[in-house]
Symmetry: C2
Subunit: 338 residues, 2 copies
DNA sequence: TTGTAGGCGTTATCAA
DNA sequence: TTGATAACGCCTACAA
């Protein structure tokens, strides 16, 4: 292995001068710079990151805690973040967690082990934050969930307004003339996102003078095709005269559609469905899935900008709302009441 | 920051004894072990990876080079690998590359920077391997592509037989009575996988006494919905009497189906489609997509096993073929020739 | 079974 | 503008 010492010996300069050249510092003569760079190229030398970071006690890395492996929205956001980070000198350390895992506990572990300069949480549960977040001392951004009610000086958030978005989804169903509406969502005792969206649902029910009975019209489903399928089976069994469903993710919605078709029910003729997230998949599915679109590019870019603002410019935390959008598809039937 | 010295001081033992306990070595008295572990827990101490790896000059990590961000098969494989690696003391360093990027060049960079103990290539181009792979000196496994014709003593492979699998896909279309068959695949001058699958197609054409005219029946499409959509538009334009399409990935196939529907063509009534990869998506799509299923769990598990065999047991490279499987769906119409 | 000391490759401090 | 030297936190001979 070729080290900085080899470069020093070969170029005739000292280790310190080589280090200075490597780090693009100005207090080096052009002459030395040029000679050393030539040797570096010749030996194809790349500094040892471990040594560098041991000395500097940081790793120029950003940790990303992703809650839910099958969550396509998060996959898109990660992809987007990856693309942006590539252009910088930072590296990304991505950790995939279970939908219901304790992300803050994991984050604390990650910080100990990898010393990232900042953290991005894709999804998060405020309970965990309140309980343990004091143990995290690097700048963080909570993405897709709001964190404005928690006053941590190192926690920003970039989120969609889940209550309003879910309410909008259910409003769409009511407006299309549906009254027997079911919900397919996460475990709202564990997932704050699911809880918020559930609130949106119940708001919509209330606004339309309907009674929201979670026992009857809510069924648990994780964010996967398979779980959506099984959740829909249970929902249609306990709520047979259902005419419309709001699924809290596109993936869940698609699993649900398949379950309905396998029972001989058509979408949207027999049952209407609206999803959530607005992933590319929704657009390409048959029927094209009506959904609430979260602007994932925007969520990604703002998260990174805010995080860098906190890391490099020591800015104050910001709590930002990124607008959602209803995207119609072919999965909702309008019922004419006569 | 709490270091091994703090633990030593606090526990009354020396740094080396603490180190021994940390590394689960046997030459420590139960007494010392217990006391030290208590202090470690109390202080929530986690060793500094940089220091550890600097000394050991490796990072107990496995690099994964993923060619193609939107490739759902690769995503499934990565997920599976992640799950298996979690149980070991290794960590994963995942690099996402463009479909047509030079993965070997990137791998060499990664090795310099991160010193992984082994490398997994999800997708790869033999040209790049032949040209530069000699520069990689850690054990590697090429996944989904064969590497048996290249004799590197540190390169194994676990693959689906792309030629046979693609041939099978086109055979299925011929057997269903189709003759005007189009192909939607990658750039076969750059992607070896695409090239192999193209060969399988042409074999099938030959076996059925048909002329394979790539200019007419082949259209380029990357492994994304969007690209499948546009590729299909071009294909149907230049080959208007087409009745069946083999798309070299499920994602491409779904993009293609949407393009056809947007032109008022139905699948499978007007045009039949078969995909490739056998991702969960194919199963949940409407119509359920006929596809060639690659056993991604098996590809993942064998890759890891073989890689660990090379790393830890210094085994010889292996070139393994994992069988594929035709999975029927609702996207192929059988034409009765009368 | 335990402790001492040296070194892994780099950067930072200070002196020249 | 340069160079010598001391860290960074950990592991590992080797000695006790």
């Amino acid at each position: 292995m070729v080290t900085i010492k080899d470069i020093a010996r070969e170029s005739g300069y000292s280790v310190s001068t080589v280090s200075r050249v490597l780090n693009h510092r100005s207090d080096v003569s052009p002459d030395a710079k040029q000679k050393i760079e030539a040797v570096v190229t010749k030996f194809n030398f790349v500094p040892n990151n471990n040594a560098k970071h041991l000395k500097q006690n940081n790793s120029k890395s950003i940790g990303v805690m992703v809650k839910g492996i099958s969550n396509m929205l998060f996959a898109s956001i990660v992809e987007e973040i990856q693309r942006m980070i590539e252009k910088t000198e930072y590296t990304l350390v991505v950790s995939y967690l279970d939908e219901d895992a304790d992300e803050v506990e994991q984050a604390i572990l990650l910080c100990r082990e990898r010393k990232p300069l900042g953290l991005l949480f894709l999804g998060g549960n405020p309970d965990y934050f309140k309980k343990e977040f004091a143990g995290v001392d690097v700048p963080c951004v909570l993405v897709t969930n709001r964190a404005n009610q928690m006053e941590f000086r190192n926690l920003s958030s970039v989120a969609t307004d889940d209550v309003a978005a879910a309410r909008r989804a259910v409003d769409v169903l009511f407006d299309a003339g549906h009254e027997k509406i079911g919900i397919l969502g996460g475990d709202f005792t564990k997932s704050y996102t699911s809880y918020q969206r559930l609130r949106g649902c119940s708001d919509s029910f209330a606004a339309h003078g309907a009674v929201f009975d979670a026992d009857r019209c809510y069924e648990k489903a994780r964010f996967s095709f398979d779980s959506g399928y099984r959740g829909m089976e249970r929902l249609v069994t306990k709520f047979p005269d259902i005419t419309a469903v709001f699924a809290m993710s596109d993936v869940t919605a698609i699993g649900a559609i398949r379950a309905l078709r396998d029972r001989g029910l058509r979408v949207p003729e027999d049952i209407s469905i609206i999803g959530f997230d607005g992933t590319t998949l929704a657009e390409y599915y048959n029927p094209k899935l009506a959904t609430i679109k979260q602007q994932y590019q925007r969520l990604a870019s703002r998260s990174i900008e805010i995080l860098f603002g906190q890391i490099e410019l020591k800015k104050e935390p910001i709590h930002e709302i990124v607008p959602f959008e209803f995207v119609n598809g072919e999965s909702i039937r309008v019922i004419e009441h006569g």
